[in-house]
Amino acid sequence: MTAALQTHESIIRDGRDDRDARSADAGSSPAEPLDRARAAAARVTDPEMPMLTLVDLGVLRDVAIEDGRVVTTITPTYSGCPAMATMRDDLQRELQDAGFEDAEVRVSLTPAWTSDWITEEGRKALKGAGISPPGQAPRHQGPVALTLMPTNRALTCTLCGSANVKLSSEFGPTACKAMYQCLDCLEPFQHVKEI
C-alpha cells in the first residue's frame, strides 16, 4: 500500500511545534503524519457497501493524533450495526499499513448518525452500484407521527430510470436499506433508508 501514500511537495517545513505529530512520525514535517493518517483512514470502505468509503457514508467522524497515537472516531449507523467491528479492524489495518501502529478507534454515539451525512460522492457511488440513495431524513418536532400508509418516496429505478416503482419492504438485506421493485423493467433494487 506504500505506493498509495500521499507525499507532500514541501517536505521541509520547520519551526512549527506539534509534539503529538512529531512523536508519531519524527522524520517528517509536523502536519504530515496527520494528513497521512487522514488519507489512510479515508481509504477504508464500508464492509457491506464497498463502493462507499467510511467518509462517504458519514461514519468516520474524526481522525486525530493524541500522544503520538492516531485516534479515529466512528459512529454506528444503526445501534445493532454488525459492521462496526469490521470497520474498526479495517481502519486499524489500513493505518498500520500507513505506518501507524496501534491506532485507536473510538465510538461516538452523539450526534446520532443520519443518512443526510452520506456525501455527494457517496450518493453517486451508491447510484453507480445500483443502490438508490436516501432522500432527506425526517426531522421530528414533537412526537414521531404514526404512518400507517406505505412510505411515499419519489424514487426512480436504478436500472431504467422509471419512476414507476413499488416498495416491497421497508427492511432490506442490511439494517440501513429498504427493498423496491421497478414495475416497468421489473428490476428489484435497494434503497438506503432515511433516518
Binding site: 445493532g80 450495526c81 465510538v107 414521531v144 427492511f171
Partner: protein, 326 residues
Amino acid sequence: MTAHDTNEPSINIDHDEAGANIEHGESENAYSGLLVNDASWAFGTDFEDPLAGVDTTVPEGVDSRELGVYCQMLGDDALIFSQRISEWCSNAPDLEEDIALANIALDLLGQSRLLLARTAAADPSLVPQLPEGSPVPDEDRLAFFREDLQFRNVRLAEVPNGDFAEAVAKILMYSTWRLAIFERLQSSRDSVLSAIAVKGVKEMSYHRDFAGRWVLTLARGTEESKARLLSALDGLWPLWDELFETHPIEASVAAAGIGVDPAEVADEAGVILDQVFAAAGIDRPERGALAGVRGQKGRDGLHTEALSKMLADMQVVARQYPEGQW
C-alpha cells in the same frame, strides 16, 4: 497424538476419502490467518466495548446503582424481545417479512448491548463474576450469565411466539410503548442514555410503522386473518398494563432527570394504539391485567415460565464454553 492418548476430545477432525482422520498442525489451520488483532470470546460481537471512548461518568444527583439497574431493565426488555423476534428467522410467511423481523431483532439487540454496557459502566458490581482471565465482556456476562430471576424485563417481551398476527401485534404494543419512553429519554441528563434513545427513536419509528401496517392489513384482510389478529391481541392484552406500572427504581431515576416514569406515557401510547385500532376497524381488547406473584412482576425479576426456557436455549452454549475463543 496426544489428543488420542489422553482421551481428550478433539474438535479439528477432518476425514480423508478413506474415512481416516486427517491431523492438522497448528500452522495448517485455515482460520489462523483470520485472527487479525486478537482472539476474542466466541459468543460476543468482537468489538470489545460498545461504549469505547464514550464518557460514562455518572451524572450528579443519581445513585449509580439505580442508574445501572434502570439500564438493565431497559436492556433486558430489548435483549429478551430481540431474542424472541429472532426465533422467527427462516419461519416468517415470506422472505421480506423474515428479513424485516430479523432487522427489528438486530436493532433491539444493538440497543440492548449499549444499555447493558451502560449498566456495567455505571455499577460494575451488577455484572456477574466469572473466573479471573475470563474473555467474556461485561454486556455478555449480563446477557449469558444471569439466572431468570435476575432479569428485569417486562413480561410482554418474553411471551412465546404465536402466529404472524401475534408477532405484529406484539411488536406494535412493544414499540408503541417503548417509542413513547425513548422520545422522552432523549433528554435524559445521562448523555449515554440520551444518545441510545436518540438512535433508538429513529429505529423504532420503523418498527412501529411496520407492525401498525400489518395490523391494518390483517384486520382488513380475510375473516381468517382478522380472527387471528383479534385472538392474538386478546392473548397479549393482559400484559399491556404492566408496561406502564412504575417500579421504585424507575420513579427514582425519573425524579433525578435520568429516566422516564412509564406511567407518564400511558395516555399517549394508548391514543396511538387506538388510532391503529380505529384505522383497522377493530376494538381494544377487554381483558384484565395478568397478575404478578405477590404483586411482583417482570421489573421485580418475577417472570412467566417462558423466560426460563428461553434463557436455557439462549445461554446454554455460552455457559458450556465460558472460555471459548476464536
